[in-house]
Amino acid sequence: METIKQKENINEIRNRLLNQQRKLQRRKILSNRSLLIGALILLAMVLIAVLAPFIAPYSPSDMNVPNRLMPPSAQHLLGTDEFGRDLLTRVMYGARVSMFVGLAVSILSSVFGLIIGLYASYFKTLDHILMRISDGLIAIPGILLAIALMAALGGSIWNVVIALTVVFTPSIARVVRSSAVVIREQAYIEAVYMQGAGHFRILWGNIAPNVLSPLLIQATFIFASAILSEAALSFLGAGIPAPEPSWGNILQASKLVINKAWWVAVFPGVMLILSVLSLNLLGDGLRDYFDPHISARNK
């Protein structure tokens, strides 16, 4: 009796353990899956963006005014816009703008954020000044700050990149700083300093490599936010000026013809959702990859 019961117990425990392990694996696959799906969709977007000039059926600027607002057909798979331009072509070229803005903003704000965050974590006075400034910039709603900057700079793709970089750099700087402060307090940094390493070497040789993973995760989300912000800015008429096609400015134009031509709103909208979704998935996936502990909680 006794042994059987113990056996049962052991079996139960083993089953439970197996179960847990399976769960863990499944979770890992799941998280990998989000990384995978995200990367795949993003890859597709990037391909469309890069290959647009070769695969698009028409030129994005060719107008055919009498043919305006034609519904999707064999000739124009996604229909035409208010100038009779091919919507499919314009949506493909729109991917170029979105991908470019997203990439440029995430790279630029990562670079500036890294520099600012690192130095702020290391020098007390500088920290106070930089963090007060970033507090201020963060406190202004991002979209308002971007709109004001765009009014000042004028509408162009580079100006959108500049404005959004100003908006997103402080949040990256904060992430970098908080990770760097933790590392800085660790004993081995002290040891390196004792050995006579200079501030520059400690900062870039010892601290910087350790903040790269949170930076990468944050940069992925900034990529998504930048795409969204560009779309919102262009939607308000403060972003990429026509005739350069961007999903945001196609959506803006769609609002005027919404009761006549649903397709002008729907297709760029779906693309926008897909690309943001892919980046969010990718970001989640990366976070799981770098920090399985957090992932277990969030997933």
Binding site: P141, I143, L144, I147, I258, A265, V266, I273, V276
Partner: protein, 320 residues
Amino acid sequence: MGDYMLTYIFKRLVSIVPVLFVVSIAIFMIIHITPGEPASVLLGLEATPEEIEALNEQMGLNRPIYIQYFTWIKNVFKGDLGDSIFMRMPVADAIRDYFPPTMSLAILAQLIALIIAIPTGIIASYKRGKPIDTALMSVSLLGMATPGFLLGLFLMLLFSVQLGWLPVAGYRPLSMGLGTHLYYLILPAFSLGVVQAALIARMTRSSMLDVLYNNYIKTARAKGIKEKVVLLKHALKNASLPILTVLGQSFGTLVTGAVVIESLFNIPGMGQLVLNSIKRRDIAVIQGVVLFITLIYVGVNLFVDLMYGVIDPRVRLDRK
């Protein structure tokens, strides 16, 4: 405890001052490098450059920037935010007029978000790993990826243009009746609420998961307490801290960041006010509104931090 609380609040309030300074200087500088004059808006499309220049001179907008800034900041300390060039009223009055729509929108959006998110999060955590969990979390991922203005556009296409059930856009104040008020606000609030709902649902789920596998929940279950009570009373209460954080943040975003939705649905709120003022180069209004919005943002954060202490007395407020 009381003294300690007060000191903490006081410290936090003092720390707002440099933030506001940075904000005001940043905005002032941005507006200053922005080309274009309020005079040209006042005079309209057909005005000639000479007319614009003359009006500018008369309005004192040709003075050096630092003089304009110091005049402004001096008045702010006296409690005077200045006057709007266009609206012919003090900026404070303009804020008072434009704040209610934004507030209504934010409250309704938050309500919608909560109604969707809390049950979703609880169900998902309870059915963790089951198809329903996966389905709900996938939908929430989609919700997080859909910007409010796009959802608004789609909803407008469906409910207003195709079905004709709801107004395309516009705003009716509460004074015209709660029904009318809500009838006009429902689409924008929903568009705004969904993204927040997705966020809150995910947060609720993960906080619930943290709690659900704790011993006291197991004990509660072992005691034979009904599952519903376990979930809602014991688990949710203990999971409420992180949820509250997200809630505070999301309310902050709702109040401060509804610019695009307000513009899409033509709601005369703070976002529209500041957007129009940027277009009109009405600097006093831009400054006043941005300061006000910043204050709200900081205020909401402070409130959330204080709530931590109320919900869980173990939390020390000055942990930073």
